[in-house]
């Protein structure tokens, strides 16, 4: 996860996936919101973009 190379001789720490999970949750929430908005727009106006 860390893009920065570990300095040799330094203590190697195991990578933490906590922030990856947080990012995944955020992405999932955004995607779910987009899907809901898309469904709501299509179901109400029969189109996603533009004016009915």
């Amino acid at each position: 996860m860390s893009p920065m190379p570990q300095a040799r001789g330094a203590k190697i720490a195991p990578p933490s996936n906590l922030y990856t999970v947080i990012l995944a949750v955020a992405v999932g929430v955004v995607l779910a919101t987009a899907a809901y908005v898309t469904f709501a727009c299509y179901s109400r106006y029969a189109t996603i973009f533009g004016l009915p």
Binding site: Y19, I22, L23, A26, V29, T33, V37, A40
Partner: protein, 297 residues
């Protein structure tokens, strides 16, 4: 991973979740404007159609109102004419009513006069009836007297017959004595004188006359004059009465010149005059004193 990156990740996540919640809340609570627009359009069309119907109905109602107005005007004219006719008829009926009221008043006066005359005639009739009863009683007495007289007459006739028989016997004895006297006197040349006899011949008897009731009386023309007239009670008095043969229920004709004016029906008689009710024949002519009356024309 630096601390700043971690902080940014956390903030990004938090803001993303917050923003997504706001978006979802807004979208969920937003109105369906398409549906609203469709409803509004539909309601607009319905309103337009209703407006058109209302205008059409308004035109129809206007036409009906005009037609009804024309009909009502015609009815008003007809009713005005009928009202004028009824007003004329009402005036006519009022005039007829006034005339009938006058007729009723005159008829009431005539009825009162007739009632008074009827009352007077009733009184006269009662008086005449009383006189008739008296005359009948007198007639009965006379009849009894006549029967007694007839009985006495029969007795007298029987006595006369006996006396005649006795007279006849005496006459026969006298004739025998005369015969003997003549026979005796013939010796001396003399004859006895024959007296006149009043004895009726034998076989002749006197019979009482039977009093048979008189049969039909012959209608005799009676003539007289009107002596008094009371047209209020329609009574007239004539100059001849029971002595001339006038009887109740006889009808006399009142004659003036060559015209028969009226009839008089006799209901009361006295020896020298008679009274009767007047029955008019000629309109406008009334009997008066001096007119001639007769039973036959």
């Amino acid at each position: 991973m630096s601390t700043l990156t971690k902080v940014l990740i956390v903030l990004l996540t938090v803001f993303s979740i917050f923003l997504c919640g706001i978006v979802v809340t807004y979208v969920a609570s937003a109105n369906n404007y398409k549906k609203d627009a469709d409803d509004a359009r539909r309601s607009n069309q319905i309103s337009k159609s209703r407006e058109a119907d209302a205008l059409q109905q308004l035109e129809d109602k206007k036409k009906q109102a005009e037609d009804e107005k024309a009909k009502l005007n015609e009815q008003i004219l007809a009713l005005d004419t009928q009202t004028k006719n009824l007003q004329g008829e009402l005036d006519m009926v009022k005039r007829e009513k006034d005339q009938l009221v006058q007729k009723v008043a005159s008829m009431a006066a005539a009825v009162e006069t007739t009632t008074a005359a009827a009352r007077q005639q009733t009184t006269l009739f009662e008086t005449a009836q009383q006189e008739v009863q008296n005359l009948r009683a007198e007639q009965t007495n006379r009849k009894k007297e006549l029967d007694e007289t007839n009985q006495i007459l029969l007795e007298k006739l029987a006595l006369i017959a006996q006396l005649e028989t006795r007279v006849r016997q005496l006459t026969e004895q006298y004739q025998e004595a005369e015969s003997r006297l003549n026979q005796y006197l013939q010796q001396y040349g003399r004859v006895a004188m024959r007296p006149a006899t009043t004895v009726a011949p034998a076989g002749t008897t006197v019979q009482p006359m039977a009093l048979a009731p008189t049969g039909q009386t012959r209608m005799i023309s009676l003539n007289g004059q009107v002596t008094a007239v009371d047209m209020g009670s329609k009574l007239a008095e004539i100059s001849i009465g029971a002595a001339a043969g006038v009887r109740p229920q006889m009808k006399f004709h009142v004659i003036r010149g060559e015209i028969v004016v009226a009839d008089v029906l006799i209901f009361e008689t006295s020896p020298d005059k008679a009274v009767g009710s007047v029955v008019l024949i000629q309109q406008g002519m009334e009997p008066r004193a001096g007119d001639r009356v007769a039973t036959n024309l």
